[in-house]
Symmetry: C2
């Protein structure tokens, strides 16, 4: 297993000594996921934050009619998880699964709390991560509340051009909050 992508991600915001790096690595776990395999199911308690090393993961909720609603996609270099479940260590409402064969690096929440004490720089790293995440969710909510579906689609294409190539259309439909049928209709009626 290879931690280079994760270490590069960490190095964007904090600088570690070799010793700190080694300690950090000693706390990491690796999991390989087959396409469609779950990392987390509704009702599970999230173990801790997960970093995508290869593949693509997504988190989603399931409504009472059985429809999926994608909350986040995570290509390589991204973090994913059910934050409410992780913080409170309570059963969560989200599913996390792999859209293709993937490799995930993750850390137990308890080990992360230890890491924060041993190497306080990591407080900074995860603060910055969480702040960026807040900014993303704020703007997602703004888009959702104030733009029609076609503009949310255009926004997604602009913001994640590489994901558009890789994802099945129905996953994108779910992310922007419409049915696959409606997205298909939109795309065939509209010149973007």
């Amino acid at each position: 297993m290879n931690h280079d992508l994760l270490l590069a991600n960490v190095a964007k915001h904090i600088t570690l000594t070799d010793e700190e790096k080694a300690y950090f690595i000693s706390l990491l776990n690796v999991k390989k996921l087959r396409k469609k395999q779950y990392l987390n199911q509704e009702g599970d308690i999230a173990k801790g934050p997960s970093f995508v090393n290869s593949g693509i993961l997504r988190s989603y909720s399931l409504d009472k009619n059985g429809y999926e609603h994608v909350i986040q996609f995570a290509p390589p270099g991204w973090w994913i998880g059910d934050m409410a479940s992780m913080i409170k260590q309570e059963p969560g409402k989200l599913y996390v699964d792999a859209l293709e064969d993937s490799e995930v690096i993750w850390i137990w929440k308890a080990d992360l709390d230890k890491l924060f004490v041993e190497v306080p720089k990591f407080e900074r790293f995860f603060r910055i991560l969480a702040e960026n995440s807040v900014a993303t969710y704020q703007s997602r909510l703004v888009n959702y509340l104030s733009l029609p579906a076609i503009e949310r689609y255009a926004g997604f294409c602009k913001q994640y051009p590489s994901l558009i190539q890789k994802l099945p259309q129905k996953q994108v439909a779910s992310y922007i909050g419409v049915t696959p049928e409606f997205l298909s209709k939109m795309l065939n009626n509209t010149v973007i």
Copy 2:
């Protein structure tokens, strides 16, 4: 001006020495807002995080038809701001204003960055704040994508019982993502 509420808020997650407290307080600014007065307008660069000491603030976006969409309410003891604008120090998309006469304590982003270096405990405090915020936005998005309006209203009442008392109905309508007319109709057709 009185920092007790803010210091109590900080003390929930980290413990400060008197000296650290004094330094923190030395960085704080206070602003009194009249009802309807803006703390931030679209296009402004957010100065830094703001803590509500009294009153109620809200953040919202304005769509191209002139409709407001409430992103967050902040009663006393809550933090509010346009996170994307604050992080990138770029003009933002959100308005922040006071729904009643209010008092806000805020800190310049540059001073906050200094504080993180001088008193690293604050990294932890703001990490926890941001993580809780992520959890809230995740669950808000789940609700928005998977529940009908009447259940989002019921959820709001359950989660923020004290706010329901104080807020005009049209503000709640905007938060749950419907028009005031539709919320009015729902409430008069439905026994909750």
